[in-house]
Amino acid sequence: MIKLHNLTKIYELNKNNKVVALDNINLEFQQGELIILKGASGSGKSTILSLLAGLSKPTNGEVIIQDQRISKLPDDFLALFRRENIGFIFQKYNLIPTMSVWENIALPLIPTNPDETILKEKLSKVMQQFNISHKENSIVKNLSGGEQQRVAIARAMINNPNIIIADEPTANLDEKLSLHFIQILKQLKSSNKTIIVATHDPLFFDLDFVDKIINIHNGRVQ
């Protein structure tokens, strides 16, 4: 279970300029749910995701994931928690453009220093799952947008996390590729993964397998 308790995030640009990105948010998500956070740009969706993933700390309140108070974890432990439990798909994919597909996907495994056989096994499985095996040795910058996104998803899934977080995953995709991404989400949901997607793409709002659609406006739940 994921719990956001009295979550507030204020960005202090300087002493006289504060931006309240989130204002006292309280939410709960169950294991296996697909949640859509919808709202306009600047509404606070991405801030919620970064707090959920432990990429930043709240100003007030906390995030509890599987009974772990992740907002209270020191950075080293947070990184470990994130590595084992969370897969993040970024809007701009955040891949390393000069590295190959398999090198990008293998990156989250490097700190664990895995056995070569296990590494190859995991890579092969995840590349097949997201239909990118044929591009295994291609340099990422030479791939199309859809292929880059599949690499990003494969990288997020390589550690088999329970929680998948996607920030505007279809912002750079055409409709066909967006629908393909939605099919991937359905596939992931069927394997009991908790998926949280921040988007303002209307394609997501009428899906029958979405459990919750949460509207965020000016840092508050509507």
Binding site: H5, N6, K57, P58, T59, N60, G61, E62, S71, K72, L73, P74, D75, D76, F77
Partner: protein, 318 residues
Amino acid sequence: MFLTPEILTLQILNLIFLSFGTIAFILSIKIALKWDLNATTKLQYSLEKQSFLTATIIKYIFTLKIPLFLFFIFTLDKLSNILPGAMCAAGVVNATVYGNYLLVLKVINIYIFGFWLVLHYVDIKQPTLPYTKQKFQFFIVIYFLLLIEIIIEYLMFSSIDISKIVNCCGTLYSSAATSFISKLFLISNQTILFVFYFNFILIIFSYIKKYKQLFSIVNFLFIIVSIISLILFFGTYIYELPTHHCPFCYLQKDYYYVGYLIYILLFLGTFNGLLVGFSTDDILTNNSFKKSIIFNTLFVLLVSAYPIVFFIKNGVWL
């Protein structure tokens, strides 16, 4: 104050340590007073960030201060070339009223700085940061020791008069000395050797029996006993001179800088030994037990080797 590159280095570093140490001191007070890890308030999140910054500052100050002690001794040793009458660091230490106090305080401080570093290490190893409050409370106290050390060091270097003749170590470490050191020479070699090896046997005994408190106490005694033994007995075999008892001369090139190795081994052995008595962490306790035994044994072997080698070579004792 006369300035050599070494004194200048030490003074500039002290100024940096004092500046950053004062920032860390102010933040430590705030953290010590208001830290509550369970709280999810703006203040607590801000303190968590500040505690990381503060601990990093303190960690770097102490990590540098410990090896700088050796550089301080090296500086004193180098100054002995300038001061008339001084043959080694001992003459420089005794050139001012501050020298001996500073040396004792520096030795105490390196143990205390080491303890803080271990406490910090144990704290950040756990996600609940169980010792954060204690480590910053501890630093508040240590800050004053650091401050006093820096002030005395400045006073010592600034009051050295290079036109004044100072005593050499041969005079300072002899039965004719006017200080308390002369009283040490009332102890016979047999007595000090018995105490030294008996103390070491007690260390081994308490290690085998895993008596934590006893191990810590005998390690504390071992610091004092070892220094006295070095002055009274082992030093004379390093110099191969029965009348030379200086605990500083063997830091010089003539003796292959062996003094540094001797004191580093003694520090590492006894520091880990003292740690055992304070540690509540099983892994840390076991590691400290082992490290203490290893370094203390190496220390005993090293200092014992000198008289044995001397006897093998010459067939007589000094």
